[in-house]
């Protein structure tokens, strides 16, 4: 239903999807940095750094945008989320700080490569745990356990097999996205094959973890079978295009696949913001706030999308057009002084 709260909830979900597709892939890059191996170990790491360097900060802002819109438009939901998920959210923030700063220190010759890679591994799991906790209904009032005390109130809602499975699933999705994207970024055929191989492994992990997550799910939410079918089709498409080495198509299919996973979560939850009791409509801010937020989003988009397009065209253009890169990597890596 196209009500104002639903539109804004949709925008927030879209911002989260963008964060997963762009920022998530940057985290996945960190995973491949950690797992770099074989004769081209250093080239793999260089490729990751080169691919995420110019764009990771812009990609990161999608999360800030989602959170800011959430507390503006759904303040009750945000407050409850922040209380119940205080522990994993704080840990996730520490991960975000370590990942971002270690990456920039590494770029500018201050070391920190291992911290960057490790934080890239932990942060997505925590993000996934939070999503899993919400989806399982543990953040909603009625869904929370009845026990007393710290553990019951602040640990039990998210320390569940299902939430943990969603956490690992998120990590696998991010690594999968990164590997598929990197096949297109790699210039040398061997390096491209390295990431093609990694993309297959990650795709298989995504599949296995999706099944595990589904098995652990308590079925409190109705799953939309049409979305699941579409996701499956996109997954097959990614496999096929990777197999045929059609990397452009693989990138598109992988992005669609993961976007559908996020969308599927949103659709399953509808009309709840925090199942099983807090609906989007109930938790929405007054109408005037929603109208202004929507205006700000539209005005922001008018500035943002051309700028983002410009950024991506400059740095990802040669890759998207599949022409050899114009200039040698210009990453200002530590230069000897």
């Amino acid at each position: 239903m196209l009500s104002l709260p639903n539109v804004l909830a949709g925008i927030i979900l879209s911002a989260l999807t963008a964060y997963v597709l762009f920022g998530g892939a940057d985290f996945g890059g960190g995973v491949w940095d950690l797992l770099a191996s074989g004769p081209r170990k250093d080239q793999q790491r260089r490729l990751v750094a080169h691919a995420i360097g110019p764009v990771w900060e812009a990609n990161h802002v999608w999360l800030i945008l989602a959170i800011v819109l959430l507390f503006t438009c759904f303040p009750m939901g945000f407050a409850r989320l922040a209380i119940v998920l205080h522990v994993p959210l704080t840990l996730m923030l520490i991960g975000i700080v370590l990942r971002g700063s270690a990456f920039v220190f590494q770029t500018y010759g201050g070391g920190g490569g291992r911290v960057f890679a490790t934080a890239s591994l932990v942060t997505p799991v925590l993000l996934g745990i939070c999503v899993g906790a919400v989806a399982s209904g543990a953040v909603g009032d009625a869904g929370r356990g009845t026990g007393e005390g710290f553990y019951a109130g602040y640990i039990a809602p998210w320390l569940t097999p299902f939430a943990l499975a969603v956490g690992v699933f998120a990590l696998a999705c991010f690594a999968f996205l990164a590997a598929v994207y990197l096949t297109l970024e790699a210039e040398e055929p061997e390096l491209r094959e390295d990431f093609r191989q990694r993309a297959f492994i990650a795709a298989a992990a995504v599949l296995v973890l999706a099944v595990v997550g589904w098995a652990l799910f308590r079925h409190t939410l109705p799953l939309n079978h049409r979305v699941i079918a579409l996701t499956g089709a996109a997954a097959l498409g990614t496999f096929w295009s990777l197999w045929k080495r059609r990397y452009w198509l693989a990138r598109l299919a992988a992005a669609v696949e993961v976007a559908l996973v996020v969308l599927g979560w949103g659709v399953a939850q509808y009309p709840y913001l925090l199942p099983p009791d807090l609906t989007i409509a109930e938790s929405a801010a007054p109408r005037v706030t929603l109208e202004l937020a929507l205006t700000a989003v539209i005005a922001g988009a008018v500035v943002l999308f051309p700028s983002l397009y410009y950024l991506m065209r400059i740095f990802k253009g040669p890759i998207i057009r599949k022409t050899p890169s114009v200039a040698p990597p210009t990453t200002p890596r530590a230069r000897p002084q």
Binding site: P54, E57, V61, F78, T90, V288, A296, S307, L311
Partner: protein, 419 residues
Amino acid sequence: MSDLLAARSQMAVSLAFHIIFAVIGIAMPVLMVIAERRWQRTRDPVYLDLAKRWARGTAILFAVGAVSGTVLSFELGLLWPRFMALAGPIIGMPFSLEGFAFFTEAIFLGVYLYGWERVSPRAHLLAGVLVALSGAASGIFVVIANAWMNTPTGFTFANGAFTDIDPIAAMRTPAALPQTLHMTLAAYAATGLGVAGIHAFLLLKNRTSAFNRAALTIGLLVGAPAAVLQPISGDIAARSVARRQPVKLAAMEELYETRAGAPLTLGPGIEIPYALSLLAFHDPHAVQGLNAVPRAEWPNVPLVHWSFDIMVSLGTYLALVGLWAGWLALRKRDVTMHRRFLAALAVAAPCGFLALEAGWTVTELGRQPWVIFGILKTADAVTPMPGLIVPFTAITLLYCGLAAVVSVVLYRQIIRSPA
């Protein structure tokens, strides 16, 4: 340590840390753009080197600022969920606009940093200008949200809930203009004089370095005018506080009893008659003392008072250094060769940042015990989660470690003179 104190301390550490990166993220792009413009005009490689070094500095600080800013946007809810549940719909607007401004800044910083060889010189410079503008805009939006906490407007408050909310009126809160003006100038003054001061220190050791002289000049160009204008904006801010938050002013000046023609206390036993009334209202009007409100509604008076005095003293020093620079420039003296001026400037390097921290201590502690002045107490806004000393300790350790690493990397990347 009580949970409330732990939450307040965590917020304080997070803000104190983030603010340094935020102000440098606002002002450093201006320095970088001036250097690039000078390089484009003169083709003097010193300016290109400077622009690139400052861009690298901006990149490092912006990255840390971006992630520590993310922490803050979450902490608003993690530590103060009841505040956000109540105030989110009213002050979400400036935060949303800040989100977009920040996004623009991140995009064009990417273009600037990695685009030296990929876009035309003009487009590159324009990207730098956009970074500077969007940086200033995002700072202004965030300060507007803080201003609203000091002088909340745009709603009717009844039975513990806001009705008839008007987010636009909330953004036009009376404290918005004085606070944003004071903060934006502070960003330019602290960063500009900070950079100039570091290079003044290096010049004192080696007077011939063209690199240090160019850096010092550009730093002064940005920092000195802002430092000279800052006392004027400070006066505007103080008069706004006097009218709308008299308790905060009384704490700033340690004025316990309401007095007409209130004196300004400079130290134990040193008073300037009428000065406080004149400063606060520009006439010998009565200044409300702390005794006008119950003791439970007083902020921490000594801390607010001392922070205020530290800020004013440091700000005065910076303004004098700025005036001195202007005087030397008027007399066509080379500021980079004037030994005593260089020494004064080197001393000024950390002062702007210390003044900034002191100033935020005044405005934040001075608002206590309220989180929304007169509406919601901080104690009623805090999260019910126990054991808040744990996240407080974790965040503090994290930021201490980060501060150390950032200092080392910055020194290696920017300040160290080219070999």
